[in-house]
């Protein structure tokens, strides 16, 4: 519960913000480059880690660029993110070191926390990462792969958002909180507009068919329509902005099945790591048969594919003709 003074301060800040916004929209500087938002907020902004004491941050991470325009279109209302009901900046309460206004939740946590405990009143706050997670788990097209793969939290993953091209001077100014709104918008717009969508490379869906016969014993070999599967996945997610941003390279989609190895158009075969019999040195690594089943069924289960049933063996690999 905020006290009256804090409320007053925030109201004043909001008023100041609105003033700035009007000033911005009127200004011809960078607004022409990006479509305007419905709410009147800047279409994109660089989220500088404001230290609060006028000093620059020492971190090596690039500041994140927040495309307000596409996020505004993706959510139902402003309260989804602005959970206090005021269109104030996240960093007002969630400071770098945490403050009583922000319930001690730091800016870093407010942006990245996952598995946020549901609140009793039903108004569970969201972070950027938790909202993205929620989205890909709920959407059928995404839920399949994301049921069997956990996105690696590596540098490339971070760089999807932390991609603002700022000069050291701009960073120093931004983190000290002395960068003007116009300057901020200019940098953000430049980062958003210069971003290139990943290209489709030739042979992306190859090979057309894969015959899985190394284990054929009880059943006939399995015929896997590789091209059809990949094409279908790519087709279904082509208009999804979130998928487009995080599948920053075409190989990222391949990495669902061809996991654990570096991104490549010629990834190693399943059998390169998964042995027919389980390796006692790696008891946690599934054997080859289980690896196939886990990937295929995990994805199908995640997407809610009803047929074939997981226990309907002969749909994927036909029964052997009875011996005469």
């Amino acid at each position: 519960m905020r006290n009256g003074k804090a409320l007053l301060t925030q109201t004043l800040k909001a008023a100041a913000c609105t003033f700035c916004l009007f000033a911005l929209c009127a200004g011809p500087v960078a607004a022409a480059e990006l479509e305007e938002t419905d709410s009147g907020a800047p279409s994109a902004m660089v989220m500088f880690p404001v230290t609060g004491d006028g000093t620059a941050t020492k971190g090596s991470m690039k500041p994140a660029v927040f495309n307000h325009l596409i996020h505004e279109k993706a959510v139902s209302d402003c309260v989804t993110c602005h959970h206090t009901g005021d269109p104030q900046s996240c960093a007002d309460c969630h400071t770098l070191t945490g403050s009583p206004e922000g319930n001690g939740i730091t800016l870093e946590r407010a942006m990245h926390a996952t598995n946020i405990a549901p609140r009793a009143d039903g108004n569970t706050p969201k972070s950027c990462v938790s909202c993205h997670e929620e989205r890909y788990k709920a959407k059928q097209e995404c839920a399949g792969c994301h049921n069997i793969v956990v996105p690696a939290r590596d540098d490339k993953w971070c760089a999807v958002c932390h991609n603002a091209n700022v000069t050291p001077e701009q960073l120093a100014k931004g983190s000290a909180g002395s960068l003007t709104a116009e300057e901020n918008l200019e940098i953000a717009t430049k980062s958003v507009t210069t971003k290139v969508a990943p290209e489709k490379v030739p042979g992306y869906f190859e090979p057309t068919k894969v015959i899985i016969d190394t284990l054929a014993d009880e059943y006939q070999p399995c015929l896997f329509s590789h091209r059809r599967h990949v094409a279908s996945l790519v087709e279904r997610i082509k208009n999804d902005k979130l998928a487009e941003a995080f599948h920053y390279q075409p190989e990222v989609i391949c990495a669902t099945c061809h996991h654990q190895s570096p991104l490549s158009m010629t990834p190693p075969k399943c059998g390169s790591c998964h042995q027919t019999k389980i390796d006692p040195a790696n008891p946690g690594r599934p054997n080859l048969k289980a690896a196939y089943h886990l990937q295929c069924m995990g994805c199908h289960t995640g997407m809610g594919v009803q047929r074939p049933a997981n226990t309907d063996c002969t749909t994927c690999h036909k029964a052997k003709p009875a011996a005469e």
């Binding site: 598995n115 997670e133 048969k289 289980a290 089943h293 069924m297 226990t311």
Partner: protein
């Protein structure tokens, strides 16, 4: 010793023994050695599809009776089945709600401290260093105490056998482990829902899986501590919409565990330890009773002997006194010689009488 003293003594002994057993329980003395390198199996329910291949594998490697319903019929999993003498493992389907169905494999958990073994008074059960709990029927008397003791209702009795019925239960394929082979069910699992390995490694694997997919799994490894720890452990799915629990919090995990038929009230204490308190006093009673009753008997005996000796002494003194009086009278009237003679004759006669009386008494 009077009654009051006896009761006071027994009371003190009781308190002392109670203190002694409390100390035993505190020290956590195991009746079974803990095999740090023992094997185990982790059943990941999120992977299990209920194909019954583990049941088929178990049946095959253990040469069990062919089932009435073929293993390809997966609809039998919808019933709450239990292990039987010819089905050492079964897979059942459980409803988590929200149209979400999961499967759980049931077999012997191969406890670190097996309750069945602690209940068996003919020592048919053995906890092996490889982690398995095996049963040897040679000394079995068919008391079925093991069936009562097992918190998972696993050992089954051959009621249908008219002669020499024995217990049947999962052996962890102990004979196959010795040959370096995997248990039948693990080998035939098509999804690697059963992961075989050293128990301590499995716990790490389970933790890793939970950490990587906190939304998928319940943060609880069933069998890590339950019933004193088991070699076979279960990794459970988190029902949709349920908030994640605090790591390993049994009370919070209970509602989800109940849905999949796992017992939540077993606690972390080995089943055998629960009976140590009561059974621990048995040897004490056995060792104290001979001392107490032997002592009481000895005291009575001694008192009787003293009384008898005193009586005899009094009798002898009285007799001597009478004898002397008589002899003195003879000496006065007939002289010293006659007196001596009379004394000797009377002593001899009295001794003879005594001897006769004693002999007669014995005869009686």
């Amino acid at each position: 010793m009077n009654r009051r003293k006896f009761l006071t003594f027994m009371g003190t002994a009781g308190v002392v023994s109670a203190l002694g057993t409390a100390k035993v329980a505190e020290a956590g003395v195991h009746t079974f050695p803990y095999y740090d390198n023992g094997y185990g199996v982790l059943h990941d329910m999120t992977r299990c599809i209920g194909c019954r291949q583990c049941e088929a594998g178990c049946n095959k490697v253990n040469n069990l009776k062919k089932p009435d319903v073929p293993f390809t019929d997966v609809t039998v999993t919808h019933k709450r089945r239990r292990t039987t003498t010819t089905e050492w493992t079964v897979v059942n389907r459980y409803d988590l709600g929200h149209n979400e169905f999961v499967f759980r494999k049931i077999q012997c958990f191969h406890c670190n401290d097996p309750a069945c073994a602690s209940a068996c008074f003919t020592k048919c059960y053995k906890k092996n260093p490889d982690g398995s709990v095996t049963y040897d029927d040679t000394q079995c008397v068919g008391c079925r105490y093991c069936m009562v003791a097992c918190p998972f209702y696993i050992p089954t009795f051959e009621y249908e056998e008219a002669f020499d019925p024995i217990i049947q239960k999962c052996t962890f394929c102990h004979n196959r482990l010795e040959k370096g082979q995997l248990p039948g069910c693990v080998e035939s699992c098509t999804m690697d829902a059963l992961t075989f390995g050293r128990r301590k490694d499995l716990i790490n694997i389970a933790r890793k899986r939970i950490a990587e997919n906190p939304d998928k799994y319940l943060d609880y490894i069933y069998g890590e501590h339950d019933a004193g720890g088991t070699a076979w452990m279960v990794l459970m799915p988190k029902p949709k919409g349920m908030p994640q629990i605090a790591t390993g919090n049994a009370a919070e995990a209970a509602p989800a565990m109940k849905k999949i038929g796992l017992d939540t009230h077993l606690g972390t204490q080995p089943m055998g330890e629960l009976t140590y308190g009561a059974l621990g006093t048995v040897p004490m009673i056995i060792s104290f009773w001979p001392v107490i009753f032997g002592g009481a008997y000895g005291m009575t005996k001694r008192r009787e002997a003293i009384a008898k000796a005193n009586q005899e002494k009094a009798v002898a003194e009285e007799r001597q006194k009478t004898l002397e009086t008589v002899v003195q009278c003879i000496e006065k009237e007939q002289g010293k010689e006659a007196a001596d003679k009379a004394r000797a004759a009377m002593t001899a006669a009295l001794d003879e009488q005594d001897a006769k009386a004693e002999k007669g008494g014995e005869d009686k």
